[in-house]
């Protein structure tokens, strides 16, 4: 059921309940107060009659005329008057009681004999009910007669019937009008929701540039709209990143493919010397290796994105790892006449995955060697700062421009300088380094100046003292 219908129904049900309760209470309170007014008037008339009789010394009245002159208030047509003997028979009555015999009810007689006043209803067929008050006149301990004053409930009943009719007609009308108003209001209140739905459909259709117009009011809809727009902003950004990433990835893969296709086609265009074929095959092998490296690294990164890469958390003696890597890097540097120097070392253990940490530092050292000028120096230093181990790899190579420094950890980002300097990189190494450092709870920072060299600093939290260093058999 649509929200609009549901809202209207809830609202209508609540309103109907309120109207019914209100009408019922109104009806009964009105009926009660009207009847009370009748009773009061009857009591007053009866009391006046009793007072008049008292003044006359309670002499019996003989005829109607005498009665009427005695009690002028009885001339009012809305009341009638009867006097009964103590035995209950009528002795005299006002002229407006004509059509019916209205004997004293046994209950009234009984009450009168007991010396009390009684208010009662009397009902005759095809007539509105009558309200009667019977007052005993007692003189010197004995019941002289019973005065009965009556009035028709006609006007009270008519008023009540009219009231009932008004209520029965106006309540459903009021309800219907309110329901229509409620339906309209619900529609109005829900219109922004419809707008959001439409926009969401367009966005789901692929148009991420769509935004909702934020209403001026800071109500629920305004907040929803802002939240929604914020969500689309983030979606758009991540979609853009993904597009950028896949375009970068396809570019990086296309270049080796172009080389392989071009060189192979060229070689096949005419018969060549064996050495020519050999050169092409060797070159193709290089490109295949490059593509394999890109694909491997991409696969690794996408597995880290999915959270599928498991990390060991073992104590790793960082100092011996660095010393070992220093030896490896020295061999790398030797090929390019670059000296790798271990500047400082300190006993330090961190919790982590030794293989990954090895990969991290080897990557940084390899970069340092790659981007150094022949004859240059690369420095490694392991120091302890408070609760962190700090490894710094410094080169005096080509350096990284200020504007590139924030982006070198992005996947496939390679500075123009790096591209010109070495064709071998995949553009993924530093992204992997950044991930390794991050998953060890550390920080990776770069300081660099174009033409002067770069310095990469890795900070890793030291292992708790208890796990400091695995015992080595002496």
């Amino acid at each position: 059921m649509p929200l609009r219908v549901r809202l209207t129904l809830w609202y209508g049900t609540a309103l109907a309940l309120i109207l019914i309760i209100f009408s019922t209470v109104l009806y009964f309170v009105t009926a009660r107060s009207l009847r009370d007014a009748v009773d009061e008037s009857l009591e007053e008339t009866a009391a006046a009659a009793v007072r008049s009789l008292e003044e006359r010394g309670f002499l019996p009245l003989v005829n109607e005329d005498e009665l009427m002159s005695q009690f002028p208030e009885l001339a009012r047509i809305d009341k009638f008057f009867q006097i009964f003997s103590p035995s209950g028979t009528i002795t005299i009555r006002s002229p407006n009681v004509k059509q019916h015999e209205m004997p004293l009810s046994p209950k009234a007689l009984e009450v009168a004999l007991a010396g009390r006043t009684l208010l009662e209803f009397a009902k005759y067929p095809k007539e509105p009910p009558l309200r009667l008050i019977s007052v005993p006149i007692i003189f010197r301990g004995s019941l002289l007669y019973i005065i009965q004053v009556g009035t028709s409930m006609d006007s009270v009943e008519a008023t009540l019937n009219r009231l009932l009719l008004v209520l029965l007609v106006s309540v459903p009308i009021a309800l219907a009008v309110s329901l229509a108003g409620g339906w309209f209001m619900a529609g109005r209140a829900l219109r922004p929701v419809d707008a959001i739905t439409l926009a969401a459909q367009r966005i789901a259709g692929g148009d991420l540039t769509q935004r909702l117009t934020v209403p001026a009011s800071a109500d629920e809809i305004g907040r929803l709209t802002k939240t929604f727009n914020g969500m689309i902003d983030r979606l758009e950004t991540s979609f853009r990143q993904i597009r950028q990433f896949s375009s970068d990835a396809s570019h990086e893969l296309r270049t080796p493919l172009t080389v392989m296709k071009g060189e192979t086609e060229l070689a096949l265009r005419r018969p060549r010397a064996t050495d020519d074929y050999k050169i092409v095959l060797e070159s193709n092998l290089e490109e295949i290796d490059r593509m394999t490296r890109i694909v491997d690294e991409l696969l690794f990164l996408s597995r880290t994105d999915m959270g599928e890469v498991k990390m060991e958390r073992q104590p790793v003696p960082l100092d011996s790892l660095i010393e070992d890597l220093h030896r490896q890097a020295s061999l790398l540097g030797h090929e390019r006449d670059i000296q790798v120097v271990l500047r400082a070392t300190a006993p330090a253990a961190v919790l982590g995955d030794e293989l990954r940490l090895r990969e991290l530092f080897l990557n940084l050292l390899d970069n340092a060697v790659k981007y150094s000028h022949p004859g240059g120096t690369v420095e490694i230093a392991l120091t302890i700062e408070h609760t962190q181990a700090q490894v710094t790899v410094t080169d005096r190579g080509i350096g990284i421009a200020q504007e590139d420094q924030s982006r070198i950890f992005d996947r496939f980002y390679r500075t123009d300088n790096a591209r010109t300097h070495t064709k071998k990189g995949t553009g993924l190494g530093l992204a992997i380094c950044a991930w390794i450092v991050e998953s060890h709870g550390g920080q990776l920072k770069v300081q660099s100046k174009v033409g002067e060299g770069s310095s990469f600093t890795v900070k890793l939290p030291l292992a708790p003292a208890a796990a400091k260093r695995p015992l080595t058999p002496s």
Binding site: S250, R254, D416
Partner: protein
């Protein structure tokens, strides 16, 4: 026909250069965008091949620079991106055609032939003067239906002459369009090659097509 290739991927640039040279084009290769633009502006090339992703100066800027200098040389762009908008931007910036990497060498050569043809007023597939015919697609040269075998340089020289029949071609013009930048202008290599051509085309025939214009250069004409 002399072509400048601006491409930063060394291997890609090298095989393009080699493939074009085997088709008798004179080729210069430049790996840097800014320098490439400089060279393109000072040398009278017949065609530019420009990679859109270059260090120091993006390919698009080279296109704009070349066209701003009112150089009308046809330009073929190479792009690794498969995105349409990159190609559209390239074509709008003044490129005449594009190729997406990786590409087939045959397609590259065919597009180059098409672009070079576009420059001349009459653009037949086969160049013809009197009974001498040259087909750029097959690189077949015939005179009176008789096949003539030419070396790469001889062919390049003849193609250049045939594309400019009836006009005096000076030695600097010939060296600029037939040889690449490694050519040493202070030699008589041009005269040597013109003689080779004469031997193969005009020798033993009553009607000579290659004429020497004393003091200025050479001309190819039928009368």
């Amino acid at each position: 026909m002399r072509i400048l290739v601006i491409e930063d991927e060394t291997k890609v640039g090298c095989f393009i250069k080699r493939a074009l040279e085997e088709e008798s084009y004179a080729v210069d290769l430049c790996e840097d965008g800014a320098r490439g633009l400089q060279i393109a502006l000072i040398t009278n090339y017949d065609l530019l091949i420009v990679d859109l992703m270059l260090p120091s100066l993006p390919g698009l800027e080279i296109l704009k620079g070349v066209r701003q200098a009112k150089v009308q040389t046809p330009i073929l762009i190479l792009t690794a991106q498969s995105q349409v908008d990159q190609r559209v931007k390239g074509l709008d910036a003044g490129a005449d055609d594009y190729l997406t990497k990786p590409f087939a060498i045959d397609e590259l050569l065919a597009r180059i032939r098409a672009l070079l043809r576009r420059g001349s007023t009459e653009s037949p597939g086969v160049l013809q003067i009197d009974d001498l015919a040259l087909n750029p697609a097959t690189r077949e040269v015939t005179r009176s239906g008789q096949r003539i075998d030419l070396t790469l340089k001889e062919y390049a020289l003849l193609e250049y002459l045939m594309r400019h029949t009836g006009r005096v071609l000076t030695r600097p013009m010939i060296s600029e369009h037939v040889w690449n930048q490694d050519f040493d202008t202070f030699t008589n290599v041009i005269d040597v090659y013109v003689n080779y051509l004469r031997n193969k085309i005009d020798r033993g025939r009553s009607k000579k097509l290659i004429h020497t214009i004393r003091g200025s250069g050479y001309m190819l004409k039928a009368d």
